[in-house]
Each structure stands twice: as structure tokens, then as C-alpha cells.
């Protein structure tokens, strides 16, 4: 095949298709397709949403959630052997003995450390461990914002209704109550630590609309909300000299048979393990986008591999709402370098339109996320009206230039500096050209069940953030997950601090739970060589792997 010729970031044949979009733009300036009826929504969901389309899920066979459905990729990891053999593994004397072990350094884990410290746990009695660097996480990437009902015409009650409606009324009421009530306190806390939220000239917060919300409630820090929140919390964490280990993932819990009493860490560089003994453990390892459920690309960071769910299930923690996964409708589908990365919902909020190959607006731009995503899939794979990329991916156009047509020139650059920068790096000017989008795997809706203080059904184990389940029911609203991490990170910190005041003793360090787990797997008739947690996805070239000799 001849060398592809690129013009302004796009190959020639896509350029020609862009001409079609340019041609229909003037007619679309004042036209928006009608929202779907409830029946139409259901139809497209059944046909084309990855959660509803047949296949892709199976029942969990054993343990506290036996009988529940979950994505195959998740069940695969629950039905897997530990990385260590419990019959041979030698538990040495602990390398670290701490009051509080926190696993995962995103917003949830970092907030937990600060609040535990505020509530009397000394810095040196805490240990935070992270698989990557402290802060390399999904939290860092949150663009859109954080919800908190703090305006006159808003209230925690309205926030509650929005949240459970979005979650298909499957949310756990007590934790949603905590979420909406704590939100304003979280905002105050962040301001006092020095987080810079967008402000109006009179000093009040700038608050924006978002999908599924009935009030303007989205607090943002430009389009770098998670970055700003987390780098401030991390700076405070460092100022307090709280001990932290990086590139040391937890690969297993230790228990006395029932209660969680510590964890095994793994030094990613040397392969050496370390034993941590702890009186209380907070699990805050985030989500699972890098499992690429149903072969979808993802917005998530490199370490989002469901480690937390695997570890928690092995000690008998109960999960919930494992059957739904959130796909964001607008992931980048071109160029190759950024496939799967997020194009924020705010683009459509300000007028960008999804179009098919004929330059036709085929869907109302602000349907709920699941409906919007399914309609893109239908356009590409049922109606065959998608645009095919040089690598064979299909996508629909997102006509970003329409934002400037509707709101005046300069709007795009001012409102979306991060997005503008990202595409400019690949020679695409989003002020002039549409971009190609396709749904991308975004958020783990379910997870480990907790009470409003982050406590699980397992003694000694608290959970906070994306790894938990219940607060978002079957579907999370934008801006509720950074909030979730902050609210329940803080609560887990407070709760563990209170628990530690009762002077609990260190427990015995054993792998009894793994032996039990192995037995359950055998009884369920599961035969496999799979091992978990996987820690990272593997993107190495196939040709290289085929010739690999394992010496070291």
C-alpha cells in the first residue's frame, strides 16, 4: 500500500470525509436531534450496550457473591490462583509494623492518611503503599469536576435524588446520605488546604451543569480538577512526613484466619517481598479499566487492574453491583496514539455534535451516558455509518468546531485548554476540524460493599474510593466519584483512627484465608492456571514475546 498522505493530522481519505462535515455544518447550527423516548432508549441499549448485549458476563461461582453476575474479565481474576503458594510461602518477621496501612495513593488513600493523622494517628504509625508513584492514578485524570450541593437553590436532598436516579435506584441509601451531607464539608476542607477552584468575580464557586444533574453543581479547577485536588493533598501528605512506599504493590492480605492483620508487598524492581503488620488496613486501589472489558479501550491509568477486588474477595469481603460497567461515549478513536482517552462530556454540553459519515446529526448529544454510547455503537456497527480509521477502528465524528460557531470564536481554546493541547500535539486543530470518537471503558460502578464509615464485613478492613461499591448503584454520575473518594477516604481515616484508640493488638500473620479460598475454588470445579492480581496490563509486541527466553 502506498504511503498515507497526511493533511493537518488526518490521512487524505479522512480529509475528504471531513469536507462532508464542513458542508453540513451551517445547516446544523440551529438544529439538534430530539431526545429518544424511553422505548427508543431501551431498544438501543438492548441492542448495542456492552452491558446488555449477550455474552461478556458470567456468574461468580463461589464466595460471598456466588450467583452474582460480573464481566468475564473480572470473574477470570476472582477464579485465579494467588501469586504465592500459601502452602510453601514463608511469612517472616514483619518488615514494617504500623497502626494503619493504606493501600493505594489516589484521592481516597491520600485523604484517608490525612484524616487519620488529624484524628490522632501519628504520621510514623501510618504507611501508605502504592503500585506506581504516589498519585499516578485515575484521580489525577479527572477533568470535569466534583459535585457538592452548596448553592442556595440546591440541597443535599436534591443531590441525593439525582444520585440515586442516575444509579437506577440501586444505590445503598446510608452511603449516599453520607456522600451528599459531607460534600460541602469536603469543599471547605479542600479550600483550606489551598485547592484553587474556579471562582466567579464575587468569590463564589463557578458551578456547571452535567449529565443527570438537576442543579448546577459541578466544581472544577479548569479542566485539571483531579490533578489540582490530588497534588494539594499529596503536598500536604509530604509536609507531614507520612511514610510512603512507591512501586511496592500489595499482592495479598495477611489474616489471622478472619481479621485482616497485614499485607504482603512486592518490590517491583527487585522482586523481593516485604511483610507488613498492621492493626487496621484501608484499601483504596481504584478501578479496573485496564482489564479492557469486552475489548474496549479505556480512559484509566496504567495500574487500574482490579487488584483491590481480588485481594478483598480472597479475605471474604462482600462485593456488590458487579454487573454494570460505565462506558464513556466519547473516547478518542483517532489518532492511534490517543485511542480511548477521554473527551469530556462538557464538549457536548457546549454544543459539539456527534455525526455519522454523511455529516448527519443522528442522536441527541446529551442522552444519558449509556444511551449515548450505545447509539454510537449502533451507528458504526448496525447502520454501518461509522468512519473507519487506518487501523480499522470505527468511530463517529464529534463536531467540536460547532462550539465556536454557536458560542463565538475563541470559546474552544478558552474552555478546553487541555483538550486543545492534546490534539495539537498530533497536528489536529479542534477549532477547525471534527475529531473521531468511540465509547471507551471508564468506570467501575460496583465494588466492595461498605457501611458509611468505609467498614467492610471483614474485621480490620476498610475500603474507600472506586474500589468500593454501593454509593453509585448501577451507574455513577460525573463528579460523584472524586467526591466519593474524598468523602469516604476521610471517613475511613476517621473511623480507623477511632478504632485504633481502642488499643487493638496486632493479630497473627497467616495465609489461612488463601487455603480456604483454594478449597472453595476446587469445590466449585474451577481448573485454571491464571494468577492474580495482574498488577499491570501487558502491551508488549507479540513477536517479541514469541521469542522471549526467561532467564532472569
Amino acid at each position: 500500500m502506498a504511503e498515507l498522505k497526511f493533511i493537518g493530522g488526518y490521512p487524505e481519505y479522512m480529509r475528504q470525509l471531513i469536507e462532508v462535515v464542513n458542508k453540513t455544518r451551517p445547516q446544523r447550527k440551529d438544529y439538534t436531534p430530539k431526545p429518544m423516548s424511553m422505548e427508543e432508549r431501551e431498544e438501543v441499549l438492548k441492542l448495542c450496550h456492552p452491558d446488555f448485549a449477550p455474552g461478556g458476563k458470567r456468574q461468580i461461582m463461589f464466595g460471598p457473591n456466588a450467583g452474582d453476575l460480573a464481566p468475564n474479565e473480572v470473574v477470570d481474576l476472582l477464579e485465579a490462583h494467588p501469586l504465592i503458594n500459601p502452602d510453601e510461602f514463608v511469612i517472616t518477621a514483619p518488615d514494617f509494623s504500623v497502626d494503619l496501612l493504606i493501600i493505594g495513593g489516589g484521592l481516597a488513600g491520600t485523604a484517608a492518611a490525612l484524616l487519620a493523622n488529624d484524628n490522632g494517628v501519628k504520621a510514623e504509625d501510618i504507611l501508605l503503599v502504592n503500585k506506581l508513584r504516589h498519585g499516578d492514578s485515575n484521580s489525577m485524570m479527572a477533568e470535569g469536576g466534583t459535585q457538592a450541593a452548596d448553592r442556595e437553590n440546591d440541597s443535599p436532598v436534591i443531590h441525593y435524588i439525582d444520585t440515586i436516579g442516575g444509579g437506577h435506584f440501586a444505590n445503598k441509601p446510608e452511603v449516599v446520605e453520607a456522600l451528599v451531607n459531607d460534600a460541602p464539608f469536603v469543599m471547605e476542607w479542600l479550600c483550606k488546604l489551598g485547592v484553587i477552584f474556579d471562582r466567579n468575580p464575587d468569590g463564589s464557586f463557578v458551578e456547571k451543569a452535567f449529565g443527570g444533574g438537576s442543579r448546577l453543581r459541578m466544581h472544577a479547577c479548569r479542566d485539571y480538577t483531579g490533578l489540582e485536588e490530588l497534588r494539594v493533598l499529596r503536598d500536604e501528605f509530604r509536609c507531614r512526613n507520612i511514610p510512603c512506599l512507591e512501586f511496592y504493590p500489595a499482592i495479598e492480605f495477611l489474616t489471622d484466619g478472619n481479621r485482616v492483620t497485614g499485607a504482603i508487598l512486592y518490590n517491583l524492581e527487585t522482586g523481593e517481598y516485604k511483610i507488613v503488620q498492621a492493626k487496621a488496613v484501608i484499601l483504596a486501589t481504584g478501578g479496573f479499566g485496564r482489564l479492557h472489558i469486552r475489548g474496549f479501550p479505556t480512559t484509566n491509568h496504567y495500574g487500574a487492574t482490579a487488584d483491590g477486588i481480588v485481594l478483598a474477595y480472597r479475605v471474604g469481603a462482600k462485593l456488590r453491583d458487579t454487573d454494570t460497567v460505565q462506558y464513556h461515549p466519547t473516547g478518542a478513536a483517532y489518532p492511534q496514539q490517543i485511542i480511548g482517552l477521554l473527551l469530556t462530556e462538557k464538549l457536548r454540553g457546549m454544543g459539539a455534535q456527534p455525526l455519522n459519515i454523511d455529516g448527519e446529526a443522528f442522536v441527541y448529544p446529551l442522552e444519558p451516558r449509556d444511551v449515548e454510547a450505545a447509539s454510537f455503537i449502533r451507528e458504526c456497527y448496525v447502520r454501518e455509518k461509522g468512519i473507519v480509521t487506518p487501523t480499522g477502528m470505527r468511530g463517529v465524528w464529534l463536531d467540536i468546531p460547532l462550539i465556536d460557531v454557536r458560542n463565538g470564536p475563541g470559546t474552544i481554546e478558552k474552555s478546553f485548554p487541555g483538550m486543545f493541547r492534546m490534539f495539537k500535539r498530533f497536528d489536529i486543530d479542534i477549532r477547525k476540524d471534527p475529531v473521531l470518537v468511540f465509547p471507551t471503558l471508564h468506570y467501575q460502578n460496583g465494588g466492595v460493599e461498605t457501611d458509611p464509615w468505609g467498614r467492610t464485613n471483614v474485621e480490620g478492613l476498610w475500603v474507600a474510593g472506586e474500589v468500593s461499591g454501593g454509593v453509585h448503584g448501577k451507574n455513577r454520575l460525573m463528579g460523584n466519584s472524586t467526591l466519593d473518594c474524598l468523602v469516604f477516604g476521610r471517613r475511613a481515616g476517621i473511623s480507623t483512627a477511632q478504632y485504633l484508640k481502642t488499643n487493638p493488638s496486632f493479630g497473627k500473620l497467616t495465609l489461612e484465608h488463601l487455603k480456604k479460598y483454594k478449597k472453595m475454588m476446587e469445590e466449585a470445579g474451577i481448573k485454571t492456571k491464571r494468577k492474580a492480581p495482574i498488577l499491570f496490563p501487558d502491551y508488549r509486541g507479540k513477536a517479541v514475546l514469541a521469542r522471549k527466553i526467561d532467564i532472569f
Binding site: 468569590g203 477502528m393 492534546m422
Partner: protein
């Protein structure tokens, strides 16, 4: 019908293969050569530096975080064959090009100070007490040229030297703390740590807690919403659904 639906998902998985499970050699149309730590590799054209290194057989532990330009883990220094200049980039946000000589900097040993944010003021005195070395800036602009976020780093340092904390916070806001400015600075400064400090001073002392927020906090403390929330928590789903569908949506 059921079969047809399943096919859609399989087709999607097949189409996404190049980013999920890796590209098949036979599907590669164009190749380039890059050099990683001095060793040459042939990789497909059109990948990021990060993806190209993975194709070559690297499995990252370090130098890879968000994969989306937000965390600054993947800082890379490179030179193009035939050109003497050293360039800087984020490996996850930069296309690999033919003739690149690459090395990654997984860690910047830059100095950062500890302080008690409660005991400070947003002033030049605070900045100079915590980071006196900021005055050593030579005004060479190397940092600005190195910044993958196109931040005017030299300018925010200049703001710091003048004590303009607000401006320093504003200019540095998009900083992802990748450390490339610090690595290149002839005065051995750690610009991004000073910027972090300035932003916290600005956020804490130069912005106030909005009144509407304080009011809401007071209302919650007094239990204003408690009974209504408790009622909803045990209300039947039909009632909740009714409330939900009859919401009035506020427009911007």
C-alpha cells in the same frame, strides 16, 4: 438475533485490537527505527513513544502512569539523528519518529521543603524563607523551552521573585510536575515545587471560603435536611422514581 448482537461486540473487540492486545505484524504498513538506550529497534509508525517501546518489548514499571498527559511519569529526553539538540517530551503524548534516540527519566531528585501551611502568609517573605534559591534564576528560559505543557516557567519564577503569588499560581496552573524544567535548569532550581507552594498559598490565603458554602455547612450542622433525607432513604422506589422524573432541570 442473539447471535447478531454477540457479533457486534466481537467485531468491536477485533477492531480495537491494536490498542488492547497489540498489533499483528502482518497488519503493519509502515515501519520506523528508533533507538532506546542506544539500541536500535524497528517499530510501526504512528505509535506514541510509550507504545513504540512496548512494541519493542519493554514492559513498563517506571516511567508510565496515567498514559494520558496528566501525571508526568513518562518524561523523556531525546535527540533526532543528525541534529545536535536535546529535546524533551512526554512519552505518552508524543508520536515516535524515525531516528529518535530516546532515554527516559523516571525520577527527578528535586528538593522540596516541608512547611506548615497554617503558619504562613501569601508573601514574598514566605516564598524566600522556604525556597531562598529561587533568587538564583539566571533568566535563561531553558525551563520554558523544556516544558511539555507549554507553560512560561521562567515567567512564573520571575513572578515568584517579585512576590506576585497570584500570578505565579495562575501561570503555573497546568503544571503536571514532570520535572523536565528542573532537570534542564542551569541554576539547579526545582521550579515546579515552588509553583506548588505558591498555588497553595494563593488558594488558602488569597481566596476566601465562599459565603454560600459556609451557609450550607451551617444548615447541615443544624440538621436542616436530616428529616427529609431520612424519609427518602426509606421511601419506596416508585415514589423516588416519581420525584426523580418530575425534577425541574436548572439551565446554565
Amino acid at each position: 438475533m442473539a447471535d447478531e448482537k454477540k457479533n457486534i461486540m466481537d467485531e468491536i473487540a477485533e477492531a480495537n485490537k491494536s490498542v488492547v492486545t497489540g498489533i499483528d505484524e502482518k497488519d503493519i504498513l509502515h515501519w520506523i527505527h528508533i533507538s532506546i538506550l542506544g539500541k536500535k529497534y524497528r517499530v510501526p509508525a504512528g505509535l506514541t513513544i510509550m507504545q513504540a517501546m512496548e512494541f519493542a518489548g519493554y514492559r513498563f514499571i517506571r516511567s508510565c502512569g496515567c498514559r494520558a498527559g496528566f501525571c508526568g511519569a513518562c518524561t523523556t529526553v531525546y535527540r533526532i539523528e543528525g541534529d545536535y539538540r536535546l529535546k524533551t517530551a512526554l512519552a505518552c503524548q508524543t508520536r515516535a519518529e524515525d531516528g529518535m534516540y530516546l532515554v527516559q527519566i523516571p525520577f527527578t531528585p528535586a528538593q522540596r521543603a516541608n512547611y506548615d501551611i497554617e503558619q504562613l502568609s501569601p508573601s514574598i517573605e514566605s516564598l524566600l524563607r522556604i525556597y531562598p534559591e529561587i533568587l538564583k534564576c539566571l533568566g535563561c528560559n531553558t525551563c520554558t523551552k523544556a516544558c511539555p505543557q507549554e507553560i512560561d516557567v521562567m515567567e512564573y519564577i520571575a513572578c515568584g521573585k517579585r512576590g506576585d503569588i497570584e500570578k505565579m499560581a495562575e501561570i503555573s496552573f497546568d503544571c503536571i510536575q514532570c520535572g523536565l524544567c528542573a532537570i534542564r535548569c542551569p541554576a539547579e532550581l526545582a521550579q515546579y515545587n515552588y509553583a506548588q507552594f505558591a498555588r497553595r498559598l494563593h488558594g488558602k490565603y488569597q481566596l476566601s471560603i465562599p459565603e454560600h458554602l459556609q451557609k450550607r455547612i451551617e444548615e447541615i450542622r443544624q440538621g436542616k435536611f436530616e428529616s427529609e433525607l431520612k424519609r427518602l432513604m426509606s421511601a419506596p422506589v416508585e415514589e423516588l422514581r416519581k420525584i426523580y422524573t418530575s425534577r425541574v432541570i436548572e439551565k446554565e
